[in-house]
């Protein structure tokens, strides 16, 4: 196939992924990396670099509105982002050091684990406010946000801060190693483990990505694992798709689309696993 076909196909595919990702409630990176590494000719090193950059662009673009509306808490993000950004560097270095088939196999396993996570875990809209742990109290990880859907202010208080930090350390490794945005892990960690209300967890997750993915993206960029012909059409495609997806959110059958996302992930994860094991090349 002629070289110029690939960026056009990439743009079209990432545009659709952007729409589907928003409607399915996942980040674009988690769909992009397994699908593009499984079905496009680019080496996995470049796909992961592009995956990080497009997750970063999406998080940066969403950041201002989330921060201004109070649907993301910067104060809560600061310690978690610090831990995640340190470990994402190690994840990126590990991912670039391991053979591609090992990373591809592990990527397939992680994507299939995400499918199970999406099928089994249900978030809690507003967890009960509990007494803070020592670290949470010291860092004043609490606040109030206004939920327009509930029509009232919601108080929140982070708990299990040490366990939360440990979880974000692991999330950072996975984000850096596989080039995934890691919103799929941020939201349950913030909501179920740290007791942050679901909507605030989703907004804060986006802000966290903008920091955690920055450090890992620099490792890929400095190593030379960024191809403009792959990165730019993908970033533009997914961001335009996300904008359309956000507009369709009110009318689209989101439950059906979430099921489609799960099927897509299961297929792409299986493809990555089998490709890594040399069973489907």
């Amino acid at each position: 196939m002629a070289w110029w076909v690939w960026p056009i196909v990439l743009f079209a595919v990432t545009f659709v992924l952007g729409v589907v990702a928003v409607l399915g409630g996942v980040g674009g990176g988690v769909l992009f990396v397994p699908i593009v590494s499984g079905f496009f000719p680019f080496h996995l090193d470049f796909v992961r670099g592009a995956g990080l950059l497009l997750a970063l662009c999406g998080a940066l673009a969403a950041g201002p509105a989330l921060l201004r509306s109070g649907m993301a808490s910067m104060r809560l993000s600061l310690p978690l982002a610090l831990v995640g950004s340190i470990t994402s560097i190690f994840g990126a270095l590990l991912g670039l050091a391991l053979p591609a088939n090992v990373v591809q196999t592990a990527l397939g396993a992680v994507i299939l684990a995400i499918v199970i996570l999406m099928l089994r875990i249900r978030g809690r809209e507003t967890p009960e406010t509990s007494s803070p742990d020592t670290l949470s109290a010291a860092l004043r990880l609490h606040g109030v946000y206004h939920d327009p859907a509930l029509g009232r202010d919601v108080e929140w208080q982070a708990r299990n801060t040490v366990a939360g930090l440990a979880t974000f350390a692991l999330i950072g490794v996975l984000a850096g190693m596989f080039g995934l945005g890691a919103g799929w892990a941020n939201v349950p960690a913030l909501n179920l483990l740290m007791g942050v209300p679901l909507k605030l967890a989703a907004g804060t997750s986006s802000f966290l990505l903008s920091v955690i993915d920055t450090s890992a993206a620099w490792i890929y960029l400095n190593r030379g694992a960024m191809l403009p012909i792959l990165v730019v059409p993908s970033c533009v495609g997914i961001m335009l798709g996300a904008r359309i997806g956000a507009r369709l959110l009110r009318v689209a059958p989101t439950v059906l689309i979430r099921r489609i996302v799960i099927v897509l992930l299961a297929f792409a994860g299986s493809r990555a696993l089998l490709k890594g094991l040399g069973l489907w090349t």
């Binding site: 070289w3 201002p64 921060l67 960024m226 012909i229």
Partner: protein
Amino acid sequence: MDLKPEHVSEEQLRYADWLDAGIKIGLVLLLATFAVYAAGVLPPHIPFSELPLVWVLPVDRYLAATGLPSGWGWIPLIGSSDMLNFIGIAFLSLVTIGCYMRLAVTLVRRGDTACALIVLAEICVLTLAASGLVGGSH
């Protein structure tokens, strides 16, 4: 979204303003430099026809095959249209560091020591990653 600024701290609002400006400038740079690349205004370092031969390679072999430098070595090559794209990519990757620097100033002035220390540590981590000193370049 119903705005409730009374629940949003001043530093969070300022961070949002800086982030907003940063992402807009970054996207303009990304699109403008890619337009130059795609339109063939300047010659690329890697000819388009050779791209399919090298994008299938792992990054180390890709660098060896193309003679491209790693780290910040692309800067002297921005006369090539493909390397020009790294201006936008690098700018977008620097936006968070710039916002954190602004945030650090606000927190230090307010005497919020714990958060200021976390923010300063984050600036060190991100700067180290961006510098290429941590395993990024060869």
